[in-house]
């Protein structure tokens, strides 16, 4: 294991069309940790994750993956799995074909890819739909195939953008369980606006509001000594600016 944390954001800033979406976000993440990125809609969660995945270059600051910049070493991206807000599925491919393509795309050999696909299909509970077309899947299965796509090549860092959005409570619970399992030996970062997602599967929580990082700490210390639980903190941060704006 290398000494550098798997993911480091150093003052990462992103401006789009003259507006600052993400403003000087700094944090780092190690293997074996699930970080929940919590924020209201429009807080800059997706933009932050897109920077981490290498889809957006930071306007200022740096995003380091294993101590190096993704833009300089594109091959590093193979050690990263990313689930965007809408799962990037090819409607005309079968689930197993699609996952095999994803594995091969990240440089796996054909035989390894086949094994990895079988493994991930079992792990994500996709056995019954493995021969169905991606375009005919229900929202819950599509989301699960999206997660399978992000983990099929056994990445070190998994970036999930609202993995449980639009799912029913039972599906959401199974995804949360999967995420906690993944976080045992890998670094996982997930964004959400649901407090329950965080309490159910994250060891650490970061709260993003209006593009700034307003809180970063272990979930345990939040509910423990300070007495203030996550919900109170989140509402205080999310409503502070409204109060300021009103004043």
């Amino acid at each position: 294991m290398s000494p550098a944390p798997i993911l480091q954001l150093q003052g990462a800033t992103r401006r789009l069309a003259g507006r600052t979406i993400v403003d000087g976000v700094t944090f780092s993440l190690d293997r074996g940790c699930v970080l929940g990125l919590l924020g209201v809609n429009g807080a800059g969660k997706s933009t932050t994750l897109r920077m981490i995945a290498g889809l957006l270059a930071p306007s200022a600051g740096r995003v380091l993956f294993d101590g190096r910049e993704l833009a300089e070493e594109p091959a590093l991206a193979r050690r990263l799995g990313y689930l965007p807000e809408t799962p990037p599925l090819y409607a005309e491919l079968r689930v197993d074909e699609y996952l095999a393509f994803c594995a091969r795309l990240r440089g796996m050999r054909a035989a390894d890819a086949r094994r990895a696909v079988d493994h991930v299909i079992e792990r994500c509970g996709l056995t019954e739909v493995r021969r169905r077309l991606c375009g005919n899947l229900s929202k819950g299965f599509a989301q699960r195939v999206g997660i399978a796509q992000a983990i099929v090549h056994d990445p070190d860092l998994i970036v999930l953008d609202e993995p449980a959005s639009g799912l029913d409570p039972v599906q959401a619970a199974s995804i949360r369980k999967l995420v906690s399992e993944l976080g045992r030996d890998r670094a996982v970062i997930l964004s959400t606006h649901l407090l329950h997602d965080v309490t159910a599967c994250c060891a650490r929580v970061a709260i993003l509001h209006a593009g700034r990082l307003r809180h970063d700490g272990a979930l345990a210390e939040l509910t423990g000594a300070q007495g203030a639980d996550l919900e109170t903190l989140f509402f205080r941060i999310a409503s502070a600016d409204d109060a300021q704006a009103a004043a």
């Binding site: 594109p74 091959a75 193979r78 005309e92 074909e97 990240r106």
Partner: protein
């Protein structure tokens, strides 16, 4: 990784009705055209017999068919390539390719190879029609071979243009219209010059037919090969650059 992307593109192309429909419609039109020219040739036969060195079936049937393939490719390439990148952007799957560690050039080249593969199939199937005449007559195989090579290079250039157009938008139809416009401009660019009798100026060099005709005449000149390769390189570079700047533009 271009190979994996090309295979995926090819697999998806033929998992959808678009490629099959285009292939079937194009071959149907070409078959009709082939039968018409063949009938015309048979009608001319008595007259040809009186000529000292008459044009053969290769000149009067195979080459007109090759020109028809070229004209149809002007429309087929934009339709086939319009979704190559625009469609992926629209459906959100472009992020999958972009976060896979594959370079923009690799993505673009993979798609290009898949489109070229489609045209190789189309051209081989279409030229099988005149080739079938070999049962009953003598064909000039050399010219059919150079004609096929010319058509493949021509189609490769059109595929690259379609991909470049596709890389600038998320709407496939817009990409198709832009690519078709570029194709038609390159096709007719020197029509005015030729009308005035100018046939060796720079504007003639830029036009597509100037470089396709020698192949159909049985001449493989490096200047023509270079022209098509140049179009491919420029168009694919533009497409790759466009994908690269996406990280900055957002």
């Amino acid at each position: 990784m271009s190979r994996v992307i090309a295979r995926n593109e090819w697999q998806r192309l033929f998992a959808q009705p678009l490629a099959w429909t285009l292939l079937a419609a194009t071959l149907a039109v070409l078959a009709y055209f082939f039968l018409l020219t063949l009938q015309g040739f048979l009608g001319l036969m008595p007259k040809l017999a009186g000529m000292p060195s008459p044009p053969g079936v290769t000149d009067l049937v195979a080459l007109p068919l090759a020109r028809a393939i070229a004209s149809i490719a002007l429309i087929v390439a934009p339709l086939l390539g319009m979704r190559a990148i625009a469609g992926e952007r629209q459906s959100g799957t472009l992020t999958l390719l972009q976060t896979s560690g594959t370079s923009a050039a690799g993505i673009v080249f993979g798609k290009f190879v898949a489109l070229c593969g489609f045209f190789v199939v189309l051209i081989v199937l279409a030229l099988a029609m005149p080739a079938s005449l070999a049962i009953g007559t003598h064909l000039d195989w050399g010219r059919i071979a150079t004609g096929a090579l010319g058509l493949i290079l021509f189609a490769a250039a059109l595929s690259a243009i379609a991909i470049a157009a596709s890389s600038f938008t998320r709407h496939a139809v817009v990409a198709a219209i832009v690519a078709l416009s570029i194709n038609l401009v390159l096709w007719m660019l020197d029509a005015g010059a030729r009308h005035e009798g100018v046939s060796s100026s720079f504007i003639n060099y830029l036009a597509l037919p100037t470089h396709l005709e020698p192949f159909l005449g049985g001449i493989v000149a490096s200047v023509d090969v270079v022209y098509f390769v140049l179009i491919v390189v420029v168009a694919l570079t533009v497409a790759a650059r466009r994908l690269d700047t996406e990280r900055e533009r957002g």
